[in-house]
Amino acid sequence: MEIIETLINGLSLGGTYAMIALGYTMVYGIAKMLNFAHGDIIMVGGYTLFVTLSTMGMPILGLALAVVVCVVLGVTVEKVAYKPLRGASPLAVLITAIGVSYLLQSLAQIIFSSAPRMVYVGGQDGLGFVTIGSLKIQKHILITLVCSVVIMVVLSLFVKYTKIGRAMIAVSEDKGAAQLMGINVNMIITITFAIGSALAAFAGFFMLMKSPSLTNTLGAMPGIKAFTAAVIGGIGSLPGAMLGGLFIGLIETIAQVVPGMGAYTVAIEFLVLIIVLLVRPTGILGKKRREKV
């Protein structure tokens, strides 16, 4: 029974990582840039949730506001910091993204101080347990799992069957050709950042449901891990990000349960990343790109 509980915990954590990884992979697929500030958008969402909960006390309203704030922030960052650099060397864009990440973290620290804030999404005692037969699972884990699966399915359908979704695929395949076909590439990039940031807000909600402590570095480590997940799955591929997210979540949960391995969780995850990249440089589901001169 413990094994099944661990697996469910792992899948739920993986769902959170998959949410973040989707944001990374969509932006990478379309803007061809690694948005290092993505993790910190989660943190901003977390603080929005904190402010709403402490003033009005409605978690769902908090989540909705967090989504709005994150979308506005994500789009603003894209317009101000990344858009002027379109066509510049990828290194320059990457360093700017790192700068934005630091800017957001230090701004949050100035506004909210570095002391951790407690965000009790489900009240002080948490949401309690659900018992199915002899299984005893925490409610928030089930909520996370169900919500992330729903979001992933909706996102896949959106990308596959709507006009905007198909335009996104077109832009990620070939920017120039997509523009010639009459697709407004700038708008598609903005929409991609908006969707990615909204997913980050959800991820922040799930993370705070799991552990209520909120600091300005809330998104930093999960952001890096989720990026690892996106790379393992094959960056630019939506199913890859989901797969990678679940994979990293499972590895992390299992490593924490196995005696003697808990301390090395981070090392194990990154080692898996290095091995995957050495064997398959474009990730598990990534497409192989031919180099052209």
Binding site: A88, A92, G99, Y102, I110, T228, A263, L271, P281
Partner: protein, 379 residues
């Protein structure tokens, strides 16, 4: 008739300045006129310069982003620091420190080669994330060692080398690092390395052994990071593994970027200035105010990178930069063709930029084709 050898004195200014500083400060220190707080500042500045110059080789000249420079430093600090700790009682502090440099540097260089191997298959963002992963793995492994071996979470005790002369040794290390880096960059091999940065496929096509150069640059850069780690271990009483996390790697990267990528002197100035400000501001900005400094750094970083790289600002940049203004004083126009080899030419790589402009989404057609107005010019 033998060709006259031109010696560019400007190439040697940085050696001269640092050597002079070393001699003056060394004498002051022996006399006892240098306060201890300044000795510590100079130790830290020397460590920062070594780190920045070594990272500049990978980022500025090879053109690969490394986010795990602190990881190499961590290897050097722990393994070299341990060597010094074990040998100091036997053979004395200074010989032990030299052994520590060799051991720490060599082992860090081995790690550099190990990390350089994926660099052969991966590039750009993927490589950046692998180096980041490496840095995190290294410090988390040292974090979990037992107390007898490397101290674990409590940190490893090290030998604090006498402050009166440690900074002189550190400055000598800076000179060595400079000598190796500058001579490498200005040699035939250096040309090969910068050509890999500018266009890897073209470099490969002209017969440059990309594998060899990439591994060599990673190894040399890691060696000096390791030596800087040993210096850091020797300037403290303990080494804490948490210090060498991702943020520290970014701090070094900020120095390289602010100094100007591909400019060694820029890295030196930025490293010295940032370290000096860090230490001086520590006493002014206490508690929550300390973060103001990070905020300003982040803002400066973003502004500088956008200013230096945005394609939209290209004409503006070429019109108003320090070099062209200086050039006007000398009544000579700044010509990119005369730019020195060790200057960054990120926006002057013809093939890449032209392709990017063709593919850029911001290319707006000024007057869209209108069938009614077509042929107007013919009439």
């Amino acid at each position: 008739m033998a060709a006259k050898k031109h010696i560019k004195w400007s190439h040697y200014i940085n050696y001269a300045v640092i050597s002079l500083a070393t001699i003056i400060l060394g004498v002051l220190s022996i006399v006892g006129a240098l306060p201890a707080s300044y000795q510590i500042i100079f130790e830290n500045i020397a460590i920062a310069i070594t780190l920045a110059v070594s990272l500049s080789m990978v980022v500025g000249f090879l053109g690969e982003l490394s986010l795990g420079h602190a990881g190499f430093m961590c290897v050097g600090a722990y393994l070299g620091g341990k060597t010094v700790y074990l040998l100091a009682p036997v053979i004395g502090e200074i010989p032990a420190l030299l052994c520590g440099f060799v051991v720490g540097g060599a082992l860090a260089a081995v790690c550099g080669i190990v990390i350089g191997l994926p660099a052969l298959r991966l590039r750009g963002d993927y490589l950046a994330i692998v180096t980041l992963a490496f840095g995190e793995i290294v410090w988390s492994i040292f974090m979990n060692t037992s107390e007898e071996t490397f101290g674990g979470a409590l940190g490893m005790p090290t030998v604090r080398i006498d402050r009166d002369y440690l900074f002189v040794i550190a400055l000598v290390v800076v000179l060595l690092c400079l000598a190796v880096t500058q001579n490498l960059i200005r040699s035939k091999h250096g040309r090969a390395i910068t050509s890999i940065r500018d266009n890897e496929i073209a470099a490969r096509a002209t017969g440059i052994n990309v594998t060899k150069y990439k591994l060599a640059v990673f190894a040399i850069s890691a060696f000096f990071a390791g030596v800087a780690g040993v210096l850091m271990a020797s300037s403290n009483y303990t080494v804490q593994s948490q210090k060498f996390n991702y943020n520290y790697s970014i701090e070094i990267l900020v120095m390289v970027v602010l100094g100007g990528m591909g400019s060694i002197n820029g890295s030196i100035i930025a490293a010295a200035l940032i370290t000096f400000l860090d230490i001086k501001l520590q006493t002014v900005l206490t508690g929550e105010l300390a973060v103001l400094q990070d905020l300003v750094y982040a803002a400066i970083l973003i502004v500088i990178v956008i200013y230096n790289n945005a394609p939209g600002l290209k004409t503006f940049r070429e019109k108003y930069n320090v070099k062209s203004l200086l050039g006007k004083l000398h009544n000579k126009k700044h010509d990119p063709a005369n730019a020195r080899d060790d200057e960054a030419k990120w926006d002057r790589v013809p093939t890449k930029i032209q392709m990017d402009e063709v593919l850029s989404v911001d290319v707006q057609v000024k007057s869209p084709y209108d069938p009614d107005k077509a042929g107007k010019g013919d009439n």
